[in-house]
C-alpha cells in the first residue's frame, strides 16, 4: 500500500487555501503510484472544516477533533499524525510548507522512520521530487530512500485541486494528556489584517528600504488598498521593525506567486527574489537604475516611489 495522507490546516472552520493546493500534490502522487489519497484535519472545529474537503477524490477525510489539539504543539501533533497515518495505511505524509509543517514534519519523519523532502516543486515519480536549494538558485532532483516519505509542498507550484469522488468522513480517537508533554503553550499574539494574505492574494504590493521610514510604508498600504492587494516587505524593512516580520517575502519568509507583484524601493537581493520570482507579472520601481530587481521585472520604472505610487493610485481610481 502506498497511500498518501495530506495534512490540511484550517482556520475558522474552513480549510486554508494553501492546504488545498497540497491536495493537488497528493492527487498527482497518487496518479503516479496508484495509492489512495487521504486527508487529515486536526484540532477544534476540525469536523466543520472536514465537510469542505469531501469532494476531492480522497478515500477518507480523517478528523481528530479534540480539545487537546486546540493549540498546535509539535509533540502532540506528532502523535496525532502517526496515529492517522497508521489508520489509513499511508506511506507518504504531506502538507503545505508553512510554519506548522516545518516545525512538525521533521519530528514526524524521525518517529515515522521516513525520508523527507522540503518545499517540493514538482512530482517526478513516486519517490522522486524536484526542490529548491541555495535560495532557489539551484533546482535539485532528489530521490527519497526507504518505504516511507514525508514532503512539504511549495503551494505556489501547485494549482487548486480538481474535484473528485466523494470521500467518507471518519473520526479518529486520538487524545493527548497535555500534562505529560514537555512543551506548554503560553500565548499567541495574532496579527490581524483586513487585507488578503500575500500568499493567496491576486496582487501583492511590497516595500523595501526605499520607503525610508515606518511612516513611508503607508504609501505601500495606500496602493494595496486601491487594488485590494496583499502587502509584503523586504527583510531590511522587517529587521528594522518598521513592519511586522510576518510580512517578509523571500528565502526565509513567505513565498508568493500572485498575478501581479509590485516591488517598490526593493533592491532585489537573491534572497528576496527567491520569494516572488514565481509571480506572473513583476513591476519594479526603484530610484537606482542598477538595482538587481530590474533583472527580474517585466516592467521596470526608474523613479522615486513617493512620486510614482500616488500617480498609479490616481490612474487606478480614475
Amino acid at each position: 500500500m502506498s497511500n498518501v495522507l495530506v495534512l490540511i490546516e484550517h482556520a475558522n472552520g474552513q480549510p486554508k487555501k494553501l492546504s488545498l493546493n497540497a491536495i493537488t500534490f497528493g492527487q498527482q502522487l497518487c496518479a503516479k503510484t496508484g495509492g489512495k489519497l487521504n486527508l487529515l484535519v486536526v484540532g477544534s472545529d476540525a469536523a466543520t472544516a472536514a465537510n469542505a474537503l469531501t469532494g476531492f477524490g480522497a478515500e477518507k477525510v480523517l478528523v481528530i477533533d479534540d480539545g487537546s489539539f486546540s493549540h498546535y504543539l509539535a509533540e502532540s501533533y506528532t502523535n496525532a499524525l502517526s496515529a492517522a497515518a497508521e489508520a489509513c495505511g499511508a506511506t507518504t505524509i504531506a502538507g503545505a510548507s508553512s510554519s506548522l509543517s516545518k516545525d512538525l514534519f521533521p519530528r514526524l519523519a524521525v518517529r515515522f522512520d521516513a525520508a523527507m523532502a522540503s518545499d517540493v516543486l514538482e512530482v517526478v515519480d513516486g519517490n522522486t521530487f524536484k526542490r529548491p536549494m541555495w535560495a532557489g538558485d539551484v533546482i535539485a532532483t532528489v530521490e527519497l530512500k526507504g518505504e516511507r516519505q514525508i514532503c512539504t509542498v511549495r503551494t505556489t507550484e501547485f494549482d487548486a485541486p480538481e474535484a473528485g469522488a466523494e470521500s467518507t468522513v471518519e473520526t479518529l480517537a486520538a487524545n493527548v494528556d497535555l500534562g505529560t508533554l514537555q512543551t506548554s503553550f503560553v500565548d499567541l499574539k495574532e496579527i490581524k489584517s483586513e487585507r488578503p494574505d500575500a500568499t493567496v492574494a491576486d496582487v501583492v504590493v511590497s516595500g523595501g528600504r526605499g520607503v525610508k521610514s515606518p511612516e513611508g510604508f503607508q504609501v505601500i498600504e495606500n496602493l494595496a488598498d486601491s487594488l485590494n492587494a496583499g502587502i509584503g516587505a523586504s527583510r531590511a524593512v522587517c529587521d528594522a521593525g518598521w513592519v511586522p516580520n510576518d510580512l517578509q517575502i523571500g528565502q526565509t519568509g513567505k513565498i508568493v506567486a500572485p498575478d501581479l507583484y509590485f516591488a517598490l524601493g526593493i533592491s532585489g537581493a537573491i534572497q528576496h527574489v527567491a520569494g516572488m520570482k514565481g509571480s506572473k507579472v513583476i513591476v519594479a520601481i526603484n530610484k537606482d537604475p542598477e538595482a538587481p530587481i530590474f533583472q527580474v521585472a517585466d516592467y521596470g520604472l526608474v523613479a522615486d516611489l513617493f512620486d510614482a505610487v500616488p500617480q498609479i493610485i490616481e490612474s487606478i481610481n480614475a
Partner: protein, 263 residues
Amino acid sequence: MKILVTVKRVEDPEIKIKIKADGSGLETDQMKYVVNPFDEIAVEEALRLRDAHDGEVIVLSIGVGDCAQQIRTALAMGADRGVHVLTDETLDPTLASLAMQKVIETESPDVVLMGKQAVDDDMGQTGVMLAERLGWSQASFASKEASLESDEEKSKQTALSVADNKVTVVREVDGGIETLALSLPALITTELRLNIPRYASLPGIMKAKKKEIKEMALRDLIGDAQERVQILKMEKPAERAAGMIVNDVPELMDKLRNEAKVL
C-alpha cells in the same frame, strides 16, 4: 548552564554559485565558505545565554577538515570549546541529526541552539529531527518581539528567559508571534530577527587559537547508517524572460492594462 550550538560550513551566500556541467554538484573553484548565517545567530544567542547564567558554550560542526575554520570563528566570537566530527561525506538531515544526537548524549547540554535552516540545502529539518531523536521539547523559529534596531537589542540581552528548569521562547509563526515554555533540556532553532551577531574581536581571534577542538570520525559515531535523501541532479531554474524599462507611470499603466492585462 551548558549550551551546545551547531555551525555548518556553507558557500558564502554573497557569491554567485555555479553548477558543474554534469549536474552532480557545485563548482568549488574560488568558492568562499562561511558559517551558515542562521547558525551565527544561534552562536550569538548561546553567548548571551551563557553570560546571563554562567556555564559554557560548546560549538559542534560536522564536515571536512576545513570546517575547523568555522568552529574557530565561533570560538573567536566567544564560545569556549569545539567538537569537530570529521567526514568528507555530504550528509542529509537524517545522518546529520544522528551524528549530533551521539555527540549530545556524551556532552549532555541543557540547551541546544541551531540555525532554523542552512542556506545551502535549505532543508530546514535537522534541528527538529534532533529534538525528536533526543526526546526533547523544541521551539523552532525563535525570535523576539522587539526590532533589531531596538534598545533591547543594543544591550545584547538574551531573548530566552530561563527559570524553574524551563526556558520561555518567543517564536514566529504564520500570522503571529507565539510564546512557548519548554522543559529543559530543550532544542531551539533561530530565526533572523532573534539578534545581530557580534564580530570576533582581535583578542577573541587570538584566544580562539588556543581553545580546544575535540575531533572524532563520523562513522565511529553513526556506524553504517544510510542517507535517506539522494540528490540525483542539480540544474539552474528556468530564467524569466527579459523585461523592459518604461519611461513613466502612464506608460506603465498602459502596459499593465493592455499588454499584460493584469489591471
